[in-house]
Symmetry: D2
Subunit: 316 residues, 4 copies
Amino acid sequence: MPAEETEPTVVSYSYLGPAGTFTEAALKQVPDAAGKTWHAVNNVGEALADVVSGRSTAAMIAMENSVEGGVSATQDALAKMPGLRIIGEYLVPVRFELVARPGTVLADVRTINAHPVAYAQCGSWLNATLPGHGHIPASSNVAAAATLLHGSLADAAIAPIGITEHYPLEVLATDIGDNNNAVTRFVLVSRSRVIPAPTGADKTSLIVELPDDVSGSLLGMLEQFSTRGVNLSLIESRPIGDALGRYRFIIDADGHINDERMADALLGLRRFSPNVLFLGSYPRADKQTIEFTSRYDDAIFVEARQWLDGLLDPTA
Amino acid sequence: MPAEETEPTVVSYSYLGPAGTFTEAALKQVPDAAGKTWHAVNNVGEALADVVSGRSTAAMIAMENSVEGGVSATQDALAKMPGLRIIGEYLVPVRFELVARPGTVLADVRTINAHPVAYAQCGSWLNATLPGHGHIPASSNVAAAATLLHGSLADAAIAPIGITEHYPLEVLATDIGDNNNAVTRFVLVSRSRVIPAPTGADKTSLIVELPDDVSGSLLGMLEQFSTRGVNLSLIESRPIGDALGRYRFIIDADGHINDERMADALLGLRRFSPNVLFLGSYPRADKQTIEFTSRYDDAIFVEARQWLDGLLDPTA
Amino acid sequence: MPAEETEPTVVSYSYLGPAGTFTEAALKQVPDAAGKTWHAVNNVGEALADVVSGRSTAAMIAMENSVEGGVSATQDALAKMPGLRIIGEYLVPVRFELVARPGTVLADVRTINAHPVAYAQCGSWLNATLPGHGHIPASSNVAAAATLLHGSLADAAIAPIGITEHYPLEVLATDIGDNNNAVTRFVLVSRSRVIPAPTGADKTSLIVELPDDVSGSLLGMLEQFSTRGVNLSLIESRPIGDALGRYRFIIDADGHINDERMADALLGLRRFSPNVLFLGSYPRADKQTIEFTSRYDDAIFVEARQWLDGLLDPTA
Amino acid sequence: MPAEETEPTVVSYSYLGPAGTFTEAALKQVPDAAGKTWHAVNNVGEALADVVSGRSTAAMIAMENSVEGGVSATQDALAKMPGLRIIGEYLVPVRFELVARPGTVLADVRTINAHPVAYAQCGSWLNATLPGHGHIPASSNVAAAATLLHGSLADAAIAPIGITEHYPLEVLATDIGDNNNAVTRFVLVSRSRVIPAPTGADKTSLIVELPDDVSGSLLGMLEQFSTRGVNLSLIESRPIGDALGRYRFIIDADGHINDERMADALLGLRRFSPNVLFLGSYPRADKQTIEFTSRYDDAIFVEARQWLDGLLDPTA
């Protein structure tokens, strides 16, 4: 089998720029991306639109943040843009510093420019250190830092550690985030229908809508996984948006669509749910091998199918 | 397709005799049995052994009695004799009379000969009418009646209504059973691997063993049916017999193995259980069409499989 | 608290006699029974009726047999006779011998007298050793043995090992049962409302009817136990008897009604089921301490109740 | 009982200001708030801090938005600030208009100032009508509108319908939201321990953490509700924030803590979960009476408790 059939082919990448973002740090983790074309874009929607339109063959987007939870915009964009597939997962530590124009000292800081999420993540340090400060929301932290040099009204900006490699700014304080273990999970998204080969340490991402009432049908949906021994590492709800109380669920399940138990869970899910979006099966960033009880082994599924086939066709 | 491939071929029948038994009444309900060879045998084990050995092509056996419950001997015999299949179901009303030698009157009756099950089913009437009587257990009620004429020590016998068509006995009291709606369910058993065609009003019979602990695994077993929308009309436990607390379950599930939801439940069951015995799919005696929610329609299963196939092979 | 309030007081016992039965062997295991009045009776119903009427203060009855399963008559009698409670559990090994009148040799045996259950339990040995024999059903094995000396038409009888201590018979073969580990479980039943104190190795016996449809409601019933961490050591179905497909369930649950998790499961069960019969909490015969996860500890239940009370009455 | 004991007493209110916000519209729905002191604050955290500190006796905060889902900041603040209780619920239709300085026409608009959520909610209209526009994020829509008159760099702002009652601006387009049925759900929060009396149309809000693994324990948590017949109208996940894959769940359950089935579900939940936060029971904004099957009636719970008490204390 030629290589292009077993692995998605990627030749150009879109990512949330500019240089210095956490997203760029994630993209630097992709060996194949070295030396390829990179397009810095302004938001997740633009990155995904590049993929849909064919401008890029893949986009790196933030999917989950251990402090702030599922990145709503990403989840909603994936739910609404057909034909996208996740082909890889990457983890980037989230560490912030407070930067300012050269010459500024901490005591001078009155107003801080920062993306609302980053701002929230540094809340404890900011409230303790700069109790009377004001906040100007920015569309990105790197932009907040960059505009300090181009007419920003703010005195300082919250930026990813390393920003001073890109801009002539001064660090007023470092590691100002509330949680030193904070990590953002990024995924690489393409239009390729080719599913990365199973590695034994894989993840399957899904977006699932529930039929009618939430509580009973959420139970019913979870049973599709539990009765096949499939564990979930992520389940988040997002409103569908047409009425209060209607949700879709963003799910990461342990295992690969080529695993019998996962394939069977997908069948059960598809029959159960009015809408299942398969976002892909791909290797986990943490390379942790999936554990499951031997009762859900591939061989058990194959044997059961042969048994049923024998009952249905006694002449075989 | 020739008829012999779509329906099991039966040319000779074994049944619990002699003439006059409820089992004979069940066999009389089988149109195809008219004019064929009938073997009257002494017990269920013998009837099934006739089928296993090929002496008969089918046997009519009692499966469930609305008063006395699952006929344990039948359930155990089916569990232990490999290769048997149920191909039909028949219901016979269970009505008893007290019979005696001509000239006997009710006031003379001191000792009653009766099969223990029939004796138990007439307990209220007997205790009220003949408070001081004794009971001699018989291996069958017809035998109890017949031996009244050949040296029985008993004064009377409990027998199926209609027994006086076969033996010159007198009826002392009729309809003496505690429950006038009592019914016995019989099944016709053969060795044929051919499954009767689905009719929409079918039943699938199974014997299932549970893995390890009873309470958790019984829940897990029941979920195999409930998550596929398959209802059970019978579930009875029988000890496996090797140790206290180990059970097999005798199950009748609504639907036919050719129904997608049933086939999928059987797959789940086979994966779950250390031992599943498929006893057959066959038309229900009551001809009641199976009701199920449209979510479990065949088309839903087919569509889900096509969807999964499309994901697994994007070139297809 | 005086002793008579913490433990049921028993002064006379009924049991299935005569001397030599397994039931007598069970009663011999009860230390308090030594030197008290013992009434040998003819069947389980009579033994329980003695307790209901006050003739005896307790009755020893067979409850479960590892080979033949729940003793239907016992289960049905307990379900129908109100006010009975189980206060103790006893295990008796089930071992049989073939006995005959002195002078008989094995080769002479044509006809065997035996209770149908015992007869079934010795089936393998009998079919191998005496292939052409006939069976005369007896109401009890001891009676079968005893009547060999008083006009029985049989050549031999199946009896409990030890029968020759009571009757001048000869043993033709010993340990003829199919399963050398067979055990019968007996329970001591009284009318006392006093529940034996918890020992940490207790069992709670129940008879439960299900609402409407069997499969869904059986799941719902089992969840009452599983959501409180209560394991079941026995669950058997018995037809209620008014119509096909209607069952009651005989249940033994691990633990004592004084355990918080058991009390809460009973509450849930009582709300769920149209009919719950509490048969008692009593020490297990095997004295095996009940294992359960610490999540279901008494302290957890008490703390939750205090938390709820605090919410409901903020002034407390 | 004096009124102050049966209903929380509120004398001053904090809300997200300034005049013209949706939050103000919600507060106007509270009859008791008329004529009391209102504090306009800058964000949800400030509003809740006012309540915690005692500056206000209640705060009106946005809880759920049918388009954008759970308001993360509110959910997280409630999870982290101890002692807060929801005492009322209010719904406000979410309708937007595009406003500008007098004299501006739609064709002039290059840059739009808007809160990111409002901006997202008007995405379809904006992309279709003003394809090349830029977005400046604002901390609130009313602020965006107000600053148009005080040096804003933007040409227009997205604001709640009605904003021109407060500011001399011109409406360029109205009802520009993607979803005309969009509604925001607000709740009134106080420190009072007094729970509003049940009305039959109540809601109970909770924040619940799960033990260990997500999928199995989410099932176990949902069963605490389903086995007591309690339906959920909202279940949303929020990361706890200490590690990827750890969640708390924001739950709205149908019914009142004074309902037996809800109280019992709370007990089960408290035993199950390492952390349950009771946010209150209060009348639903939609006044829709809670439906539940009669099996979960208060009387059923009371009867079961009496039955258990009778078993536990036979002398009572």
